[in-house]
């Protein structure tokens, strides 16, 4: 199942007590339905698995300088940043930022990113957040192709 990384931690647990996760559980249920969460999970995981790049998804505020904030978040996304792609959507501000690491950018050129973003914004304008994200991820992973070691001969 997708790991949803909260941007505000509510850690009141210690090694002895049980983790207090109940608040996070219902919060995830309120943003998207379970079916939509499953679609997001599948899209993220399949894109990552097929391309060998690490796709992460951030949905929330991006502040006044959206690009700077998106790049900060990208730097925090952990693991191998050169192979990572961050899709940051701020529905309230009506902005979507796509950040690709250096290796990922070679496989997904900026022009392809712009095309994916264009189709996403069309979906978002119609109110379809999950569908836009899923289709955008599919376009990006189609563009990236398979990792060099796994390309079909």
């Amino acid at each position: 199942m997708t790991h949803a990384l909260e941007t505000q931690s509510h850690h009141t647990a210690t090694e002895v007590t049980a983790p207090t996760r109940t608040e996070e559980e219902e919060r995830h249920d309120r943003i998207f339905s379970w079916r939509e969460l499953a679609r997001l999970d599948e899209a993220l995981t399949m894109s990552s698995r097929e391309t060998g790049l690490r796709f992460t998804l951030y949905i929330g505020e991006l502040g006044k300088r959206t690009r700077i904030r998106a790049e900060e978040l990208f730097a925090q996304s952990g693991h191998d940043l050169a192979d990572s792609v961050l899709l940051a959507v701020s529905p309230g501000q009506r902005v979507v930022e796509l950040v690709t690491g250096s290796t990922a950018a070679r496989r997904i050129p900026d022009r392809a990113c712009a095309l994916a973003v264009l189709s996403m914004t069309n979906s978002f304008a119609a109110g379809d957040v999950v569908g836009g994200i899923v289709n955008g991820l599919r376009q990006l992973s189609d563009q990236a192709g398979h990792p060099p070691g796994l390309r079909p001969r």
């Binding site: 990384l5 796709f55 951030y58 978040l73 990208f74 693991h79 050129p109 119609a126």
Partner: protein
């Protein structure tokens, strides 16, 4: 054949079948109001990452758990976890905002 029997077989039965399929496939009323473009987004920021096994790493095998990644904390904690998982790149150990070479991407608004 009596008229009522004809009607029952050729009209009511197919109609009942079609309505049954419609009830299964058409979306029911959505819980709560749908978000429309232009409305403020009322939820806290959420961050989704792919399943750790998708990249062939030995993730924790958490299943349904949610890992908390506080965005306000220094990136050093996250990057330490990243480098200990086997993805070692020299630039990752420094908490710089741009440590993965020239970043690409795109931006869109609507």
């Amino acid at each position: 054949m009596p008229v009522w029997q004809t009607v029952l077989i050729y009209v009511v039965a197919p109609l009942a079948f079609v309505l049954f399929l419609a009830a299964l496939t058409l979306p029911g009323g959505r819980k709560g109001p749908r978000w429309k473009s232009g409305q403020p987004w009322p939820h806290e920021p959420v961050w989704y990452e792919p399943h750790p096994e998708a990249l062939g790493e030995h993730g924790g095998g958490h299943g349904d758990d949610h890992a908390a990644l506080p965005a306000g904390h220094a990136p050093a904690a996250v990057l330490d976890a990243g480098s200990s998982a086997g993805a070692v790149t020299t630039t990752d150990e420094v908490a710089l905002p741009v440590s993965a070479g020239p970043l690409g991407g795109a931006r869109g608004t609507w």
